[in-house]
Symmetry: C2
Subunit: 351 residues, 2 copies
């Protein structure tokens, strides 16, 4: 398998430390107390390093939205029926889903891809149909996918980023939607981190305590079946992930190889981030983290990624909505960086 | 004094509970798990109640930016020299200050008013000259202002809000700038809350530990001189506040009386919020809180106001920058509220 995915091991870029340092020095010359814009300063400095420029800007932004079904729903681990994945695909196609509303309001490009709903929705406006299968396998009993699907999924994410780069994208956001996705993401994250299900599991879209207990048993069963110590990350992806997560891992790796900054959305995208960073640690250098998910296990993932998300808004929808909420703050950070007068320009005395 | 300020006791409006409840019900019909957009849902529900509408929107937004000097700088309590207040007034006039950069980027109206720098800058473009005096008195030794200045300051804030309302403003942001302002704000907040200086004091724009210790002594001296138990809030304002804070209190009271929602900025504007709420508790119903300030005493004020700020970005600039950072999130919240499809509209199954 490794041979057909040689691109995965191609070296990642690194942000330009000199550009970041120049941005830091500029921030300290702007007419405000040193550091007083906190994370708005951090954002501009980080983007300046990633984009190797004195005038960082998040735009144009590309959102890649991957939808797929997760076989573990057979174990009754979601508050919603599986048909909702397909219904939400149609809702996104029509622009009525939260992610499409936000992308429109923010003037951000979005590409919606069906990477594997259980049944085929046929052709839908604004949707790419690249189904890798009729949903993943039930991870409590079988691997999520075969090697072909894993490879195709990673390549699919890679190709999507290459399309985005070809049209000038300067920042990447990935999102997902699919009933059962937190079960896949939790199982994958537990395996990557060597944690038990209990330490990361949560209510997802709204399970009650009984449901969470059932979900915990399902994930523990999946871990017992698939996650023996020292199983390589790619193999854990094949056995436990969703098609959405696999496509995202391919997208994140490709972004890091091309020096394209990433805003990582919430819980599920963070599991993809963990996998990508285990495959190549330098991928981490290209990631900004959007939100502290309401899903309780998210903090453990953020700690493992040494990440401090910008927002703590109790978000638990996924669909890239957390990452999109950060977009206007990044834009403001860049406007402030570029247009605030320096002490010298404004004739303002320093400390 | 009270007679000439009878308007302060005019009753406040209350948000429309039925409109807020209708917004909450709509949120629960939108195609996402119940509550999964967290504080973005809260924002839309709160604004719907305040604006008594099914289609809340923050726009048009009016920023009132008040600049003034604080006499306590004579006690060496700031990292910056006093002349910076006037220099920053010119910087705002020219559009080079952070608040003006943000207002422009966000397409938000801003009115900049000199409410009392120590020296007169004369006429400046985009600046109203309404100086109440040559800065406030040194609160460690004398009252900040006389009764006439207090009354004029409150009326000045009232008139500014009335102008904003006349031009259709639907949301109010107040900001301030002035060297020494955290000393005034801390002293006022300590007096209003019955706290010692030590429990609320912080580095402001960047004092070192020695500076913070000196600032603490100055505030304790001001409290000993001015803040005997049971001193009424208006008298505490006169003795301890800055002209910027007094104008803001007038603005907040007027906004609440007219049912105009307010985004409260950081540390200094929170001291004005505390004073306004002590004058009329219902003012609180019109307030959204923007940011957890990096200034350590801010949390104590937020607790007293039963407030949970939206952002925790390490901001400590003031100038309304925290409140402005929240504006695009409020806009997104309202876009999501209005344009996300309902389960029925999209044919999506519910839990």
């Amino acid at each position: 398998m490794i041979e057909t995915l040689a691109w995965i091991n191609a070296p990642c870029s690194l942000p330009n430390a000199a550009a970041a340092e120049a941005a830091r020095q500029r921030q300290n010359q702007l007419t405000k107390p040193y550091g007083s814009l906190g994370r708005l300063e951090e954002m501009a400095i980080a983007l300046a390093g990633m984009q190797n420029t004195a005038t960082p800007s998040p735009d144009p932004i590309q959102v890649l939205q991957f939808l797929s079904d997760h076989g573990a729903v057979a174990e009754d681990i979601s508050a919603f029926p599986q048909i909702v994945t397909l219904q939400m695909l149609r809702n996104m196609s029509n622009g009525g889903a939260p992610v499409t509303v936000m992308a429109r309001a923010l003037n951000v490009r979005i590409e919606i891809t069906n990477v594997g709903t259980v049944s085929d929705a046929g052709e839908l406006p604004n949707v790419r149909n690249e189904r890798l299968g009729d949903g993943t396998g039930n991870i409590a009993r079988e691997p999520a996918m075969n090697e072909r699907q894993l490879i195709d999924g990673l390549n699919l994410g890679r190709a999507a980023v290459e399309r985005a780069l070809a049209t000038g994208a300067k920042l990447l956001i990935c999102g997902e939607m699919g009933i059962g996705s937190t079960t896949s993401a939790t199982a994958l994250a537990c395996a990557l981190l060597g944690e038990s299900a209990e330490s990361l599991v949560g209510p997802g879209t709204g399970l009650n305590a009984t449901g969470v207990a059932r979900k915990t048993r399902v994930i523990d069963a999946a871990l017992a079946l698939h996650a023996a110590p020292n199983t390589p990350p790619l193999e854990l992806l094949r056995r436990l992930a969703g098609f959405d997560i696999v496509a995202t891992v391919g997208a994140f790796l490709t972004a890091a190889q091309h020096g394209l900054p990433i805003i990582v959305d919430g819980f599920i995208m963070s599991s993809a981030a963990l996998a990508a960073v285990q495959l190549q640690p330098q991928v981490r250098e290209w990631m900004l983290f959007a939100t502290a998910s309401a899903e309780p296990g998210h903090q453990r993932m953020m700690t493992a990624l040494n990440a401090k998300p910008y927002l703590n808004f109790g978000l638990r929808l996924g669909e890239a909505t957390g990452a999109l909420a950060v977009v206007p703050l990044l834009r403001l950070a860049c406007e402030l960086h570029q247009h605030t007068a320096t002490f010298a320009e404004a004739g303002v005395s320093q400390e």
